[in-house]
């Protein structure tokens, strides 16, 4: 890029430095205008991030004039729309954590195994064919997954566990797990592929089998990249909305039992938005508070991911 500057200057001999060519003047102006337009476009993302923060914070502040922060963090009931209103975020956070945990216990082992298989065992042809097909799993609209969880997975699970209610966290969590498997497998596979071959060769020369090489050499070596795959999966699961609003029931429930219905932060926001709440009411503010809590949670995990990536970064020449 600096190169361009040099060449533009070189194209104009010094003896002509004072002469102004109207064509060149116009061209320079045009270049400046275009650069400004492109810069403005790039700035949009900054503006959006700050608008999100500004809106969420400014709509949440009035909420905390009604509700003490300590109640918000410790009350065990979340019933902002009832006569006897309680504003404890814990039941919603609990639901979010529970669904995320179930989703991750499906997605992380399965995704990692798939990635190890694709990168270490599959032939290049199968790898290149199966990877995009697996990514289709992430392209399916989430509302379709919600339908699948409620209408197909729950009845299947009810055959195994007859006492399972129609709305439950388990089936929502499992389906969410299937949904985020491609994020894990795709990024993990990329990370494994970027481990240099001499590590594989070295390990095998020491007599290790392929499985041993994969688990004890390649997995640790690629962990920096793999950790960012896991973190992406976590943020997807935390923010997932439609599957839980359709299949997990909408009742805030402070429980760690996956066989019960529960509501997540996101499901609560959807539930309230479907009604017609007046702008400025406490119920309206409560969805912004819930959104802010979710955003902070996601940011914390992303920062943690940033730390992991730095901590386990390995560089190879």
């Amino acid at each position: 890029m600096e190169l361009a500057e040099v060449q533009v200057n070189a194209a104009r001999p010094s003896s002509l430095a004072g002469v102004r060519n109207p064509f060149q003047k116009w061209r320079k102006l045009k270049e400046k205008i275009i650069e400004l337009c492109l810069l403005t476009s790039a700035m949009t993302s900054v503006v959006v991030v700050f608008t999100i923060l500004w809106i969420l914070v400014s709509e949440s502040i009035p909420f905390f004039q009604h509700v003490r922060l300590i109640d918000f963090l410790t009350d065990t009931e979340w019933t902002p729309l009832f006569e006897q209103a309680h504003y404890g975020i814990l039941p919603l956070l609990c639901g979010t954590f529970l669904t995320t945990l179930i989703a991750l216990s499906v997605a992380i082992p399965c995704g990692t195994m798939m990635a190890l298989f694709l990168s270490e065992y599959a032939t290049p042809f199968w790898r290149e064919t199966l990877k995009p097909v697996l990514e289709l799993l992430a392209a399916v609209p989430t509302v379709v997954y919600g339908y699948f969880a409620l209408m197909t997975v729950t009845p299947l699970l009810q055959k195994l566990i007859p006492s399972l209610p129609g709305f439950n966290v388990l089936s929502a969590g499992i389906v969410m797990g299937v949904m985020i498997v491609p994020y894990v497998s795709s990024l993990t596979e990329d990370a494994l592929r970027s481990v240099p071959n001499y590590l594989r060769e070295g390990s095998m020369a020491m007599g290790a089998s392929k499985a041993q090489t994969a688990l004890r050499v390649l997995y640790p070596a690629a962990f920096s990249g793999i950790s960012s795959a896991y973190i992406l999966a976590i943020s997807r699961a935390l923010g997932e909305t439609m599957v839980v609003s359709i299949a997990a029931g909408l009742k805030p429930n402070l429980t760690l039992n996956p066989l019960e219905p529960a509501a997540t932060v996101t499901a609560f926001i959807v539930q309230v938005s479907q009604g017609d709440l007046p702008h400025g009411s406490i119920g309206f503010q409560s969805i912004y508070v819930a959104g802010l809590a979710l955003l902070i949670l996601t940011l914390v995990f992303n920062l943690f991911g940033f730390y992991l990536r730095r901590r386990f970064k390995e560089t190879y020449d």
């Binding site: 890029m1 361009a4 060449q7 533009v8 270049e31 337009c37 492109l38 476009s41 790039a42 949009t44 993302s45 900054v46 959006v48 608008t51 999100i52 809106i55 969420l56 400014s58 709509e59 399965c110 798939m114 298989f117 694709l118 065992y121 199966l130 097909v133 697996l134 289709l136 799993l137 392209a139 399916v140 609209p141 989430t142 509302v143 379709v144 919600g146 339908y147 699948f148 209408m151 197909t152 089998s209 392929k210 499985a211 994969a214 923010g239 997932e240 909305t241 439609m242 609003s245 359709i246 996101t266 926001i269 959807v270 938005s273 479907q274 969805i287 959104g291 979710l294 996601t298 940011l299």
Partner: protein, 299 residues
């Protein structure tokens, strides 16, 4: 007692490891397939001409998705109008212009953050900003803007990746012939990266079609028995339709799933099948384009 050597055990473990991997992979593919089959068996018989040309109704057998697919189409049209130029321009700036300084790193950090923000948060922002601050109402315009911001990072990232694969020598050759920076981009960088950019655009739009949560948050209606005003009608302004209330396919499906009557679930399955096929076809096209371009261009 039979002696089993260490090597045999390790070979068995290795074999087992491979089988487990293959099995999980197979399971994932089966899930995808059963998803398609499940929706087809439940909903395929419901899809006919009447289903496409009727408004939603209290009677499940008379209900259709006319307002939903028209709404989806218009919202996606508006989304593409905003996000395609914006995303590509931002990608070009970051790859071709941005100096390596604190400011550029700051922009990049923001894009990464934007991609990690839960989609429902975009809906909350849109409700507070577009609906109540700018007074756009719960309209197609608000929906288009919201989805644009949501999928913006996808287009920026894929544009940058596509541009980055073009070797520096191409740019140097063009500069050497006296081309200005924009001429290099217009005549060389953009044409050569168009395949990658197009892939990104298609994937972003397919994501936007299936997105539900942020549109529920901004207040898309679930029961709409009219179409947005026809822009070519005589007694309206051309742009009246962008301020019209709307519904989209995923929201219509969500509404039908949430009802207790199982007749509505059939409608939901039919809508879901249409949505699923739409996104799968778009993604298949994207994969095909990526494949074609990777083959044709060799630097």
């Amino acid at each position: 007692m039979i002696e089993v050597s260490n090597l045999t055990i390790r070979k068995w473990i290795d074999f087992l490891f491979q089988i487990v991997g293959l099995l999980i992979l197979f399971l994932a593919l089966v899930t995808l397939l059963s998803l398609i089959l499940d929706l087809s068996t439940k909903g395929l018989h419901r899809i006919d001409w009447a289903f496409m040309t009727h408004f939603p109704s209290r009677f499940p057998e008379r209900a259709g998705i006319l307002s939903a697919w028209v709404g989806s189409l218009l919202v996606i049209l508006l989304t593409s109008f905003f996000v395609i130029p914006l995303g590509i321009a931002a990608g070009i700036y970051l790859e071709e212009y941005a100096p390596k300084n604190f400011f550029s790193t700051f922009i990049e950090l923001n894009i990464v953050n934007l991609a990690g923000i839960p989609s429902i948060t975009f809906g909350l922002m849109a409700l507070g900003f577009f609906v109540y601050t700018l007074n756009f109402g719960q309209s197609i315009l608000t929906a288009g803007l919201t989805l644009s911001l949501l999928v913006l990072p996808i287009i920026i990232v894929t544009t940058r990746e596509a541009i980055r694969t073009i070797p520096q020598t191409i740019r140097e050759a063009a500069f050497g012939l006296g081309a200005s920076r924009w001429q290099v981009i217009q005549h060389h960088v953009l044409p050569y990266s168009s395949g990658g950019i197009l892939t990104g655009v298609i994937i972003a739009l397919s994501r936007a079609i299936g997105e539900t949560a942020p549109l529920i948050t901004i207040g898309a209606l679930t029961f709409i028995a009219f179409l947005p005003p026809n822009p070519l009608g005589t007694d309206q302004n051309f742009y009246d339709w962008i301020f019209s209330p709307f519904t989209v396919l995923p929201i219509q499906m969500f509404n039908w799933v949430s009802r207790p009557q199982s007749e509505f679930h059939v409608n939901a399955a039919a809508t879901g099948l249409i949505l699923l096929l739409l996104t799968l076809v778009l993604n298949a096209v994207a994969i095909f384009i990526r494949f074609r371009f990777r083959r044709r261009i060799k630097w």
